[in-house]
């Protein structure tokens, strides 16, 4: 019986069956006997989340553009589907062929956030594979992973055969070609992994020994069998020349970001000290307005989407933005296509830009001051003044916006209760700015939503040395914030502090967390990013079972000299630079952005020996 027939009775029992059956417009179907490499691209979260991810679309398109490779999509089943699959012994399958992925050559995971780690284990198990790398003896399937969390993949070192550091467009194909050769030669898995470790950007964790001191910190990380002492991340030097999809897989069901997406640039010039993305994607590289206009036209034609999103870490820093909008607005307006600009900075968000966006559709505006006081904004290097925030809000109000969403964090290094109260003060000033405006939108009140996340220290940032606030400290700050809000026009939303502790422990964790992860998963943890699935008790127990505690990883200050679990992985930005930035944070001193002045972070060295000059240099 084919898997498709087996799925019939199952799909009748589950919510949103269209998640599990593929067949969407743009999904790529090939003849299994006409391809030599089968690749399962797994996103360890639900369909709605994974299908919203641009990186997956890019790599899906690049792999499938090769005739000999068939790349399929795989997402984590929701709890009801998982129960049905386990009951009916239905293994995890690719959405294109509906064939079990355990028979594929590669199983590749995208690691976008730490809370997906147990889902990765669960997906391997649902596929019918053993979760530990050492227990999978055959060459195929090779289990690999990439994405931002690969910058400290140590908690997953026991389960994943190899990690891709940095950008995957080129290295994915290199790994596949090496595999085809290894398969022809009849190589063992060990031999393939040894060879793969020779490809720049490929990290094979089993080729490194980690030793620990008595206090639990790392003594040394030692490469063996010829593996490099440092593995450097890969970057695409010329973003304008890298292939970008002409079409997307267009889902039937409503997903989180259901629209055309363009990547206007990679990297960020800002250097906000809390932001991992701002460091691990360096240096900044952009695409030309012509390329982007072409990409937008392609996607709009092939998808039928009524929205194009200009994505990047900070889209208003994109130098070609005005030219791009001049090219793109005439035809998008004619076709009633909305332009979404999800990552605008307050200071560079000009009134002209606001007016241009408002022409298409007025939705709410979202800004991220991150901290309530100027002193703390300086400490985190969020170079943004109160006046810039208020003047942008006034401009937005004049253009008809009446709701503003402000993102903040609590638990930032150097933060005091005064800084926390500053969040409420700033929100109040935004409300006051609305009512003081003579030409404010008529007949409507203003709504200011303050969204407060808990700060999580991440590797490769100047705050990687910092202790995270304990849940008690965070709760006290949350209470302090609420007590300081005095207007009904302000609503405050905040996040659960417990998930933040686990996120912090996993983000800066070492290999000893492998058994913890496995225990938590075996006890039932999966889809930990979803409140209804998360249980801190299960995790606390799993840590205790292995004689560890989350606080060691989350709440401990780390010396500058300590060997970090990720110290053998190189993302371009030097440790010396990060230490300097950390010291400046404690002095509340700012660092200029990359366009104003090069601060010598080290990422430009990723261009050494290349013919292309680093774009961040003048």
């Amino acid at each position: 019986m084919s898997l498709e027939a087996k799925l019939e009775p199952i799909l009748e029992q589950v919510q949103k069956p269209a998640r599990y059956i593929g067949g969407e417009l743009g999904s790529i179907i090939k003849e299994p006997d006409k391809v030599s490499v089968r690749f399962a691209f797994c996103f360890p979260d639900l369909y709605e989340i994974g299908m919203s991810h641009l990186g997956m679309k890019i790599l899906y398109s690049i792999k499938n553009s090769r005739e000999d490779i068939w790349c399929e999509r795989v997402f984590a089943p929701a709890a009801d589907m998982e129960a049905q699959m386990r009951e009916h012994h239905t293994p995890l399958y690719g959405l294109e062929s509906l064939e079990p992925i355990r028979d594929f050559d590669f199983i590749g995971f995208s690691l976008q956030y730490e809370m997906c780690y147990t889902t990765l284990l669960n997906m391997l198990d649902l596929a019918g594979l053993t979760v530990r790398s050492a227990d999978r003896k055959n060459l195929a399937p090779i289990v690999m992973a990439g994405g931002p969390c690969a910058c400290n993949p140590e908690p997953l070192a026991d389960f994943v055969d190899l990690f891709v550091l940095g950008e995957g467009e080129e290295v994915n194909l290199e790994l596949i070609d090496l595999y085809r050769q290894a398969k022809q030669e009849g190589c063992s898995k060990e031999e393939y992994l040894r060879r793969a470790a020779g490809i720049p950007g490929v990290y094979v964790p089993s080729l490194y020994d980690v030793t620990y001191r008595e206090d639990g910190t790392i003594q040394a990380i030692t490469p063996k069998e010829g593996a490099p002492a440092k593995v450097s991340k890969r970057i695409i030097r010329e973003l304008d020349k890298v292939p970008f999809p002409k079409s997307f897989v267009v889902p039937f069901i409503d997903i989180v970001h259901d629209r055309s997406m363009l990547e206007v640039q990679r990297g960020c010039i800002r250097g906000c000290r809390f932001c991992q993305a701002g460091f691990i994607y360096r240096p900044i590289r952009d695409k030309s307005p012509e390329t982007l206009n072409r990409d937008a036209l392609n996607l709009s034609d092939t998808s039928g989407y009524d929205e194009v999103s200009l994505t990047s870490l900070s889209t208003s820093d994109y130098q070609g933005l005005e030219e791009l909008l001049d090219n793109i607005l005439p035809w998008t307006q004619e076709r009633q296509i909305n332009i979404a600009l999800p990552s605008l900075r307050i200071d560079s968000c000009s009134e002209k830009l606001l007016a241009q966006i408002a022409k298409v559709r007025k939705s709410g505006l979202t800004f991220a001051p991150e901290a309530g006081s100027q002193r703390l904004r300086d400490a985190i290097n969020k170079n943004l003044s109160e006046e810039e925030i208020l003047s942008t809000c006034r401009a937005a109000f004049r253009n008809g916006y009446t709701s503003v969403k402000l993102y903040f964090m609590i638990g930032l290094p150097t933060e005091t209760l005064e800084d926390v109260a500053g969040i409420a003060d700033l929100a109040q000033k935004v409300v006051d700015a609305f009512y003081r405006l003579p030409d404010k939108p008529k007949g409507k009140g203003v709504q200011v939503t303050v969204s407060v996340a808990c700060f999580v220290p991440k590797p490769y940032t100047p705050f990687e040395f910092e202790p995270q606030d304990t849940p008690e400290q965070l709760r006290e700050k949350q209470r302090h914030l609420i007590a300081n809000v005095r207007s009904r026009k302000i609503s405050v939303k905040y996040h659960d502090s417990q998930t933040s502790v686990l996120e912090a422990a996993l983000a800066r964790g070492d290999r000893r967390l492998g058994p913890v992860l496995e225990s938590a998963w075996r006890a039932g943890s999966r889809l930990d990013g979803w409140g209804e699935h998360f249980s801190m008790e299960r995790w606390t127990q799993a840590f205790a079972d292995h004689g560890l505690e989350p606080g060691f990883y989350a709440h401990r200050r780390r010396d500058y000299e300590e060997v970090a679990p990720w110290s053998h992985l190189d993302y371009g930005v030097s440790r010396r630079f990060l230490i300097g930035e950390n010291k400046k944070a404690w002095d509340s001193t700012v660092t200029p952005n990359c366009r104003e002045h090069c601060s010598g972070c080290g990422a430009a060295a990723l261009y050494l020996n290349g013919e292309v000059k680093p774009p961040c240099s003048k």
Binding site: A18, G22, G23, L25, T302, S303, G304, Q336
Partner: protein, 222 residues
């Protein structure tokens, strides 16, 4: 100036993997398919214009169909063959264009729909199931609890149900039924199954296919 407005009715099939797409998602799928064509489509003329598109008889999740209808409007006269071709190219797999025509009946004319149901049973049980089905339809009334927005109501569906044909086939029991359909009274084939399975064991699997949409005189809805 009043815009030209040409009503069009497209008949299409929805089979295979497409049966798992809900009605709401089907609407979104069609909106996007229309946007991928170059057809001069008529938009609603309101404050927030959007594509005019209506489905005279929505199809339930999990049910396949050989003949569904969707109504839309064009702003200029076009050959229906050309319209059909544009839509053939734009629709995702599982949706096939059957016919593009001028609407003759209003959606309110719909009164019946015909379905084929395939119920899988082991060979030993099939004849007994066929007998049970004939017995069910021999009864003067078939009472089931019908769930509606107003709550649960005990309804006699017998007057709104016709057994057109039934037989044992190589997977179990096959039947063709006519059920009341439309906006005032709509009997789902699942409701009939529920009535059948009150006295018999549930089938190993069920396949449902809508074969026709009819008016009160049991003439095809055109």
């Amino acid at each position: 100036m009043q815009q030209v407005m040409i009503p069009v009715r497209m008949f299409f099939s929805k089979t295979g993997r497409a049966k798992y797409i809900s009605h709401l998602d089907t609407m979104r799928t069609f909106t996007r398919a229309f946007r991928r064509t170059h057809l001069p489509l008529w938009d609603t003329q309101g404050f927030n214009p959007h594509l005019y598109m209506t489905f005279p008889l929505p199809l339930a999740l999990g049910v396949e169909s050989h003949r569904e209808a969707v109504d839309f409007r064009l702003t200029q006269e076009l050959d229906f063959g050309q319209v059909a071709q544009e839509l053939v190219d734009a629709l995702p797999p599982g949706f096939e264009v059957v016919e593009v025509a001028e609407p003759v009946m209003p959606a309110s004319a719909i009164a019946w729909a015909e379905y084929e149901l395939r119920l899988a049973y082991p060979p030993m049980e099939r004849e007994a199931m066929l007998f049970a089905l004939k017995e069910l339809f021999a009864k003067p009334s078939i009472e089931v609890i019908k769930k509606s927005k107003k709550g649960e109501v005990l309804t006699d569906i017998r007057p709104h149900t016709t057994l057109l044909d039934c037989k044992v086939d190589d997977s179990g029991l096959w039947m063709s039924v006519g059920l009341a359909a439309g906006s005032t009274l709509n009997i789902s084939p699942r409701l009939l199954l529920e009535a059948f399975e009150k006295d018999t064991r549930p089938a190993d699997s069920v396949k449902i296919l809508r074969t026709a949409i009819l008016d009160a005189g049991r003439k095809p809805f055109v």
